[in-house]
């Protein structure tokens, strides 16, 4: 297992958001689906150390990383593409991508190869290489954020709502790219766009009110009556 979460409880202030969540990811791609406010982003924030877990354990690559600082988790091999992208707006695409690799031991000495891979995946970034990121469109910034995460040569890539605010044609493009990636990297993706995400991942978890209510192979989940009724609008 690359990521193993057991009995995770977490929240903000006194308000609990996640209740006893267990989840595991091997060499595969996994979707985390659920409505707004179900706790998808909180789960990701707990894994990446952006919020401190209240209880339970998170193991990554055989090591306990529960409650570790975000930069330590990043250096261990988890790369995050946050919902809000969290890029460096005043810097160029080139600088943003370089920073993706600069502080990650796993990426040292491979920067050129990683950069080549990113530019092959997102050719538009090659054209915009010297552009200031803050002046780019939301969709392009999303691509920069994904590329920046890949520059870390991660073992696990986490994408929080990668299709948010993107036009549908770009959404399927992003998912096409993700299916290319999953050969090399384990992927955890949260999505409200359940149809697209279940098509391109191996397995899925359904999170509702801070608890896992369903899990299974993506093809089974797509046929599940509860998922069909709640998320696929059938």
């Amino acid at each position: 297992m690359i990521l193993e979460i057991q009995g995770l409880t977490c929240g903000y202030g006194k308000l609990p958001v996640l209740r006893d969540v267990s989840l595991s990811i091997g060499a595969e791609s996994v979707a985390l689906i659920g409505p707004n406010g179900a706790g998808k982003t909180t789960l990701i924030n707990a894994v990446t150390g952006l919020v401190k877990p209240w209880g339970g354990s998170i193991r990554f690559d055989g090591r306990d990383v529960t409650g570790h600082a975000t930069h330590e988790i990043a250096r261990a091999g988890i790369a995050l593409v946050p919902q809000e992208r969290e890029l460096f707006p005043g810097m160029t695409v080139a600088d943003n991508l370089a920073l993706g690799a600069a502080y990650i031991p796993r990426a040292q000495g491979r920067e050129e190869r990683l950069l080549e891979q990113c530019l092959r995946l997102f050719p538009i970034l090659k054209e915009r290489f010297r552009q200031i990121v803050g002046t780019m469109s939301g969709g392009q910034q999303r691509m920069v954020a994904i590329a920046r995460a890949l520059m870390a040569n991660p073992k696990l890539l986490i994408l929080d709502e990668p299709s948010l605010g993107l036009q549908p044609s770009i959404v399927s493009e992003v998912f096409d790219r993700l299916s290319e990636l999953k050969k090399d990297v384990a992927i955890l993706v949260t999505e409200q766009n359940v149809k697209e995400s279940l098509r391109s991942v191996d397995r899925g978890y359904v999170l509702e009110n801070g608890a896992v209510v369903l899990e299974g192979a993506a093809s089974d989940l797509a046929k599940d009556p509860h998922v069909e009724a709640s998320y696929l609008g059938l």
């Binding site: 975000t70 990043a74 969290e86 460096f88 920073l99 600069a102």
Partner: protein
Amino acid sequence: MANKRNRTAGLVLAAAVLGILVWRPTVLIYGLQAAGLYASIAIPMGLILGIVHIVNLAHGEFMMAASYLTYTICRASGMDPYLALLPVAAVTAAFGFLVYRLTIRRALKAPELNQLILTFGLAILLTQAANLLFTSQTRKLSFEYVSASVDIGDLSFGVYNFVFVAIAVAMVVGLRLFLTRTKAGKAALAVGQNPRGAAIVGIDVDRAYALTFALASAMVGLMGAVFITRSSIFPAVGSPFTMKSFCLIAMAGIGNIPGILASSVLLGVSENFLKAFRGTREWADIVFFVLIISVILGRSIRGKKA
């Protein structure tokens, strides 16, 4: 955009400077010297504001403390302040690091008002500590080289204060190299733009903040050592510099460190312009307020249009 703004400001300044140069050369000379002093004190504060996003209201007091430290060392050993410069900078760097670790770090996520109260409290603490240790009597070290002067034709002026211009320029160039060429500097720059994004790419944000704070404290400590070569010191000597520094940074725009040079020149030259005439001499202190009000007013009017 900041570059374009700097260029226009530069052009306007150059034209004004040329006019004054022909008419009253000393206005320009003393104006530049004052600008060097203002800028070299404001730049470290601008560094903290640009990267840690904290207004350090104890900034001038850090310098005052460094001046007293230099005074004590030089009095005890007979050493020149320029020899004490590096040890003093090392002590203030350590002091800045401790202040960050023990206080600032705990207020990073607090509301801005709490941060202001915290650093304001530090300022009072430092001033009163100096009062207790050294009393409110002014202290001075005298050196002959301070009164060095130069005659060009029938014009005679002191040149020592140009040392501040050199320090200010060296600070801007040095910081630029640090922030764009070194690993720690690039990390600090990234943290300044987006701390959350920096943590995600594996940068230790807390370490970058501590380093920035220590570096800025070292710079202002160095200024404290140089400051005492030309001015007498007393416990409240730093506080006007806190305010002037903050306003110079606000005029330049937060994060625009070369812009601090330009705004300092504007302030220094206009102050000395008024000082050059008997009738307006007492008005020199008001320039500062006129400039800051008009810059902020201008910016908010432009902001409303955009």
